[in-house]
Amino acid sequence: MSITVTPLETFRTEDPYPFCPGCGHGSVLDSLNEALVMMELDPAEVVIVSDIGCAGLSDQYFTTSAFHGLHGRSTTYATGIKLRRPDLTVVVIMGDGGTGIGGTHLINAARRNVGISVIVMNNFNFGMTGGQHSTTTPEGSITSTTPGGNLEHPLDICGTVGVNGAGYVYRGTSFDKDLPQRMVDAIRHPGFALLDVWDLCTAYFVPKNKLGRKGLDTTMEGLGLDAGVLFEREVAEYTEAYREAASRMGKRHAPVTIPIEYESGIDEPLSIVAAGSAGARVRSAARLVGLAGIRSGLWVTQRDDFPVTVKAGHSVSQLVLSPEEIPPVGVSVPDVLVLLSEDGLKKVGEMLEGMGPDQLVVALPEFAQVETKARVELIDPKGWTSRVPKAQFGLALLAAAVVRTGMFPPEALRAAAGGPFEAENVNAIDAGLGLAG
C-alpha cells in the first residue's frame, strides 16, 4: 500500500497579518511560507518560535506548531526543543529588539551550532512600543529615543554570529526575490543558521528617517556591510554530536554503599573538627574518618566550611560521629580539634576558647603555644618513620585522634582508605597511628 502525501499549498492561516500598511514583516513571513511549502514539511513537525514586539505576533498566522515566549529568549526555547527532538524543524522569528536583549543567546546558539534557523526581521527600531532605537539603529538616525540622532554604532548581527561559528549566515532585505530559497537553504543547513532581513517600519522609522526600499541598500553600503550569503560552513550538528559523545560515556554512576564491619568504641556523639588550609585535603581526610565511622556502625555527618576560592584560605571540616542517627547541626565546641595550619587556626578561635580539659587538641608542633584550656597533644612529623607529604598531615593527625578517642578500631580507617590514593592514604594513617601508639 502506498500513501500519497499531497504537499500543502500554504502554511498560513486565513487571517490577514496585523502589521501596519507598508510594513516589511508581512513579505518576510510570506517568504517563510513559500520556503515551508517548497520543503513540503508537515506543519506539526515545524515549530515557529517567536519573540516579543511586532515580530512576536508572527506565529499566530501560521498553521504550524508555535512557541511565543519572552523577549530575546526565543533561541533558548528553540535550543531546548531541538535538543529534545532533533527531527523537528525549528524556526525562530525575532526582531532587532530581541536580537539586542537576547544577544548572548544568539552568539552562544551560533557557537554551539544547534540546528535551528533564526530569521531577524530587522527594521532598526522598536515598532510596537513607540519607535525607540535598538541595537541595530544606524548612527544618526532619528527615533523617539534619539531625537538628536542616534549616537551608537549599530550591531553587525551577521558578523557577530558569523565569526563565532554559525553554520549559515545571510543578510538581505524583505525585497529580495530569492529570500524563500535562502530560507530553505538556512533551514536545511544542519547547523545554526541566521538570516538578517532588513525591512521597513512604516509607522516610525520610515517617516522619521525618510527611508525607502533603496535606502535599505544604501544604508547597508554606507555601513560597509555586505549582502548575500556571508558564511556557509560545514559544521557538526550539535544534537548528533551530543548523542555520539553520550554513547561513549558508559553507565550511570552507581551508589557506593558501605558495609558495617567493625565495632565502634563510643556510646555518645563525638565531634571532631579538622582546621587547615584549602587545597590540603582536609575535607577528604575528614571524609575518610567519616567512612571509617560508618564502617563501625556510627552515624556520621560532615559539614565543611571553605571560602569561595579553591586552593587558598581556610578549610574546616566538622565531623560528628554518633551511635544514633543525627541531623547535620553545627559544632560549637568540639571534643577533638585537629589543628593543621594558620588558616585553620584563624577560623577556630572561638572553639579553642570554649574547649576545656575534657577536650583534646591534636596539633602540629608550630601550634605548641596555642591558647586553650583543652589538653594539647603535639604530633611532630619529624618523628614519622616514613615520609608523609604535607597534604597528608591532616589524615595522619586525624588517625592519631582516632587512637586517642577510641572511636573505632584503626583497621576501620585503613579499610576506608581505598580508592585511587590508597597507598598514600594508608601510609599517612600508619604514620599517625604509629606516633600516637
Partner: protein, 367 residues
C-alpha cells in the same frame, strides 16, 4: 547498608529515578554539584544535560525541551532565581511542568556563596509578576532530598506548573549517613499527553488538561501571553479571567494533594516547634532532647512550603499555647504561621549570621 552522601547526590539520583530526561543549568555555588553530576550522568540515561550561557538560557532550554516531551529540571541558587524570574512566569502562564532546585545561600546579592541561608522562602513564592501560585517542597534531610525531588517531578506533571525544591548549602553539600532503606519510594506519575484539541482548558477551573507536546502529529501552540484555550493571544476579559482563575484554582483547590509535613506531636505539650529545611534537624533534635529530659514538646517539620500546609499546621497547633519558629532568615515563614494560627503566641528564632541554629538555641527559647 549505609551511604555517606550529600544532598546534591540525592537530588540528582531522585531526579534521574523520577525520569528526568533534560537538565540545563549555569554554574553557581552551592548548586554547581547538581549541574556537574547531571552533565556526568544524564547523557548516560539517554537524556540531555546542558550548561547554558546563563541562567536565563538554562531555564529557557528546559521549557522548550519540556514542550518537546522531556521531563526537565534546572538548579541554581538565589542569584540565579533572580534571573529565572521571567521564565518562572512563563512556565506558570504556559502551564509547563518543570522542577527548579534552589540551593539557598546567604543573600542579598552575591551575599556569601558558601554560607547557608533560608532567605529565599518568600522569594521563590513571589519571584515573578502576578502573584500566581507555585508549589515548593523543602527537604530537611538527605533522604528527603531524594524522595522530595522525585515528588517534585510528580507534582509538576499533576499540576502542569513549576515546582521548586528548596534546599540550602548545608543540606546540599554536607555529607550525612543514610541507611539505604530510608530513601523511600515515590510513585511518579507518567505524563498525561494529548494530541489535537485545545492545549488548555479553563472549565472546570481546577481541571488540568493533558500536555500537548510538539511533533506528535498535530500542531501545538504555546504562548506566554494571556491566551484562550487554543493558545491564541486574547485580551477578552471573560477569557482572561477564566485563564487566571484556572492558574490559581488548579493548585489552590487541590492543596491537600501537595501538603507534606513530618509531625511529631505530643498531646500534652504546650509548645510546638515548627521548622523546615536544614532547620528541621534542630527541631527534631530539640524535641528528642526535651522529651528525654521529661518535658513534652511537639515538633512539625514542613516539607511542602507552598502552598502553606494550612490543614496540617491547623491540626498541629490544637491545644498548643506557644509556637517557636526557628529560621535562617528574618522570620520569613513565621509570618505565614502567624497568619494561620490566630491568637497563639508565635516566637521566632531568626539567625542571619551564616551559622546553623542549634537544638540548644531552640531549647533555650522554650525555657
Amino acid at each position: 547498608m549505609r551511604e555517606f552522601i550529600d544532598g546534591t547526590t540525592a537530588i540528582v539520583r531522585g531526579a534521574l529515578d523520577a525520569g528526568c530526561s533534560f537538565f540545563a543549568g549555569y554554574p553557581i555555588t552551592p548548586a554547581s554539584g547538581i549541574l556537574m553530576q547531571m552533565m556526568r550522568d544524564l547523557p548516560k540515561t539517554g537524556g540531555v544535560a546542558m550548561q547554558g550561557e546563563d541562567e536565563i538560557a538554562s531555564i529557557g532550554m528546559c521549557i522548550g525541551a519540556t514542550l518537546s516531551g522531556a521531563r526537565a529540571m534546572t538548579a541554581t541558587s538565589g542569584p540565579g532565581i533572580s534571573l529565572y524570574s521571567e521564565s518562572i512566569g512563563l512556565a506558570i502562564m504556559g502551564e509547563v511542568p518543570l522542577v527548579i532546585v534552589d540551593v539557598q545561600r546567604m543573600g542579598p546579592s552575591t551575599g556569601a556563596a558558601t554560607t547557608v541561608s533560608q532567605g529565599d522562602v518568600q522569594f521563590i513564592r513571589w519571584g515573578t509578576g502576578g502573584g500566581f501560585p507555585v508549589i515548593a517542597l523543602s527537604p530537611s534531610t538527605v533522604a528527603e532530598s531524594y524522595w522530595l525531588t522525585a515528588k517534585a517531578f510528580d507534582l509538576a506533571e499533576r499540576f502542569r506548573c513549576p515546582v521548586f525544591l528548596v534546599t540550602d548549602k548545608e543540606l546540599a553539600m554536607s555529607l550525612t549517613t543514610v541507611d539505604v532503606s530510608a530513601y523511600g519510594e515515590v510513585s511518579v506519575r507518567d505524563r498525561e499527553t494529548a494530541v489535537g484539541g485545545p492545549p488548555h482548558t479553563y472549565q472546570p477551573s481546577d481541571q488540568v488538561t493533558a500536555l500537548h507536546e510538539y511533533g506528535q502529529g498535530e500542531p501545538v501552540r504555546f504562548t506566554g501571553s494571556t491566551h484562550d484555550e487554543n493558545a491564541y493571544i486574547t485580551k477578552s476579559p471573560p477569557v482572561v479571567n477564566a485563564l487566571n482563575r484556572h492558574l490559581i484554582d488548579k493548585i489552590e483547590e487541590h492543596r491537600d494533594e501537595v501538603e507534606l509535613v513530618d509531625a511529631d506531636l505530643d498531646p500534652s505539650a504546650d509548645t510546638l516547634v515548627i521548622g523546615y529545611g536544614v532547620t528541621g534537624g534542630a527541631v527534631r533534635a530539640a524535641v528528642s532532647t526535651s522529651r528525654a529530659a521529661g518535658t513534652p514538646l511537639s515538633g512539625l517539620v514542613v516539607q511542602s512550603l507552598w502552598p502553606i500546609p494550612e490543614t496540617a499546621i491547623g491540626e498541629a497547633v490544637q491545644g498548643v499555647t506557644r509556637i517557636v519558629v526557628p529560621e535562617l532568615n528574618v522570620g520569613l515563614y513565621r509570618r505565614e504561621i502567624e497568619r494561620i494560627v490566630g491568637d497563639i503566641d508565635v516566637i521566632g528564632i531568626e539567625q542571619i549570621d551564616g551559622d546553623l541554629i542549634s537544638p540548644e538555641q531552640v531549647l533555650e527559647v522554650i525555657g
